[in-house]
């Protein structure tokens, strides 16, 4: 469905040095599957998502969507061919309201549909449809509306960048439920969730661990989750102990 072939992306950092932030990525995302991408901060997860969406131009390699080479296509064209991306940090818009954005995401949506899409992400349509997308919205609210936009598009590939970030626990479960319900075993579509969440990782079909721009591990979640679970929890403990040691 979506195939990345030897994809790398290089940036020139402030010192003028070239740095590869994702390196030689080969993945063939299959339809009807739910993928998790995880790994340490700065590992290249968001960069990979932006490369897929066309927001960043990769430096080498090719990207194919259902056999078509989309490497040279811009963001708009890729969106129209069925790629959707829910931003890790959704931008704010002064003057556009929640219903404007949902309508842009799914043109022709009717009033009922609009309300349902808001309600699905746990927000009350009466309170939110006319809310301004400016700085007055809380981080968690903006995040949920971002997710609602991607859920309301009928995309072939939907990427959610840390949907759990800033969202309360109860809502996280609900959002993940929605994503699983919509994409898992749906032969028309694929979802990629970038996540650190221990309730999300095990329920995905595949886990990809990105570290320093490289795929460090990948496989079914049955294989990978046991390997990284300790790592995640260990890191948490290390951090805590580190602090305690420091104090002693």
């Amino acid at each position: 469905m979506l195939k990345l072939e030897n994809v790398s992306m290089t940036v020139n950092n402030s010192n003028g040095f070239r740095r590869e932030i994702i390196r030689d990525i080969n993945i063939d995302f299959e339809p009807g599957k739910l993928y998790a991408i995880t790994g340490p901060n700065g590992g290249g997860k968001t960069t990979l998502a932006k490369v897929i969406m066309g927001i960043y131009q990769h430096s080498t390699g090719n990207i194919y969507l259902n056999g078509e080479d989309i490497s040279e296509l811009g963001v708009t064209e890729r969106a129209r061919r069925g790629i959707a991306y829910a931003f890790q940090q959704p931008p704010r818009f002064k003057g556009l309201n929640v219903s404007d954005l949902i309508k842009i995401a799914s043109p022709g949506v009717d009033g009922m549909g609009l309300r349902k899409k808001i309600r699905d992400v746990g927000l009350c349509p009466e309170d939110y449809l006319d809310r301004d997308m400016g700085p007055g919205l809380s981080g968690g609210e903006a995040k949920r509306i971002e997710i609602a936009q991607v859920l309301s598009r009928d995309s072939i590939i939907s990427i959610f960048d840390e949907p759990e970030a800033g969202v309360d626990l109860w809502t996280v479960q609900r959002l993940i439920g929605l994503i699983v319900q919509k994409y898992q075993d749906n032969p028309q579509s694929t979802a990629i969730i970038i996540t650190h969440h221990e309730n999300v990782l095990p329920i995905c079909d595949e886990i990809i661990v990105l570290e320093e721009g490289l795929i460090k591990l990948r496989g079914s979640s049955e294989e990978i989750w046991p390997l990284i679970r300790d790592d995640v929890q260990c890191k948490m403990r290390e951090q805590c102990r580190g602090e305690v040691c420091y104090e002693l």
Binding site: V75, T76, R80, A84, Y85, F87, P91, G95, L96, I104
Partner: protein, 307 residues
């Protein structure tokens, strides 16, 4: 009344009227009143100096609207008028003003509206003024409105002033005097393009105890246009005042934003925020990732910003 299509189009642009509404109305075209109609509560007459209107709204008048649009369609015509509005005690009304100019010629045409608005004790008023210009000639379309507004004890007023298209040159001067527990909110929306120039100079004197004043401005400067926005708050009593100017700059435009706070009383609380910047790249990318073209994304962001 012989309204031409161009008249109706201008009227629709500035005051959203497709036909002549019921109620109090005065339509001025090329310096002459073409329609004048009072209502039982709102009397529209000529002022003492015979150079404009005197609009008197009876105390206690509720939920009525008065329309006083001005249109200029004669090439090279420069109109000037002095209008006075008196909103009676405890009234609650909407005033729809505005000016539209159609100029296809090579000579400038324009309108200077000098307004005095008195909002009496406990009254509420909403004032909406739209500016619009059209036509293909080299002649400029010029609008220079001056508004002096007085808010008596407990009066509440909101003024919305919009100029989106077609006015080449404008200098807007607004001076307000805010009394005890009175409150004024001024909202300006401005877009300039081409070689246009727009200056807005707003001064609020918050004189009364417990008074409040707010100036909110959103503007977009495109092409080679120039905008100057001066907003001053003078706090002379225990009061609240806030200025907010937010501008998007594009192309080779120039935008100057000058907020000024003057406190003459230790209990005055005055604040301001001002920001000028281009459209955020993230916003464009976000809308494009929902399938919009870059051009549509820009239009959507700008339209939303001025809404």
């Amino acid at each position: 009344m012989n309204f031409k299509p161009v008249d109706m189009q201008l009227l629709d642009m500035i005051s959203n009227i497709k036909s002549i509404p019921a109620g109090a109305i005065n339509i001025r075209r090329d310096g002459e009143p073409v329609i004048r109609q009072s209502s039982p509560n709102i009397k529209i007459g000529t002022n003492a100096d015979n150079n404009g209107l005197l609009v008197e709204i009876k105390p206690g008048t509720r939920d009525e609207t008065v329309h006083v649009p001005v249109i200029v369609t004669k090439a090279g015509f420069h109109d000037k008028v002095y209008n006075t509005f008196v909103v009676g005690e405890d009234a609650d009304v909407t005033i729809i003003a505005g000016c539209g100019i159609h100029n296809d010629s090579h000579s400038d045409s324009g309108h200077d509206g000098i307004h005095e608005i008195i909002v009496k004790k406990g009254a509420r008023m909403k004032y909406v003024e739209k500016h619009y210009g059209e036509g293909n000639g080299q002649g400029k379309r010029i609008l220079n409105p001056t508004t002096n507004i007085f808010l008596e004890t407990g009066a509440i007023a909101e003024m919305e002033m919009v100029q989106i298209k077609g006015v080449d040159d404008t200098v807007r001067t607004t001076i307000a005097h805010i009394g005890d527990k009175a409150s004024l909110k001024i909202v300006e929306r401005l877009m300039t393009h081409g070689e246009q120039k727009a200056v807005s100079d707003v001064r609020l004197y918050i004189e009364g105890r417990g008074g409040s004043g707010q100036i909110l401005s959103r503007s977009i400067g495109r092409d080679n246009s120039v905008q100057v926005f001066k907003a001053a708050l003078v706090g002379q009593n225990e009061c609240l005042g806030h200025v907010e100017c937010d501008a998007i700059i594009m192309h080779k435009a120039r935008i100057q934003s000058i907020p000024e706070l003057i406190a003459e009383n230790a209990e005055a609380v005055l604040t301001h925020e001002a920001a000028i910047g281009k459209i955020a790249g993230e916003q464009l990318i976000k809308l494009m990732s929902l399938g919009m073209t870059e051009k549509d994304a820009i239009d959507t962001i700008l339209e939303g910003f001025l809404r």
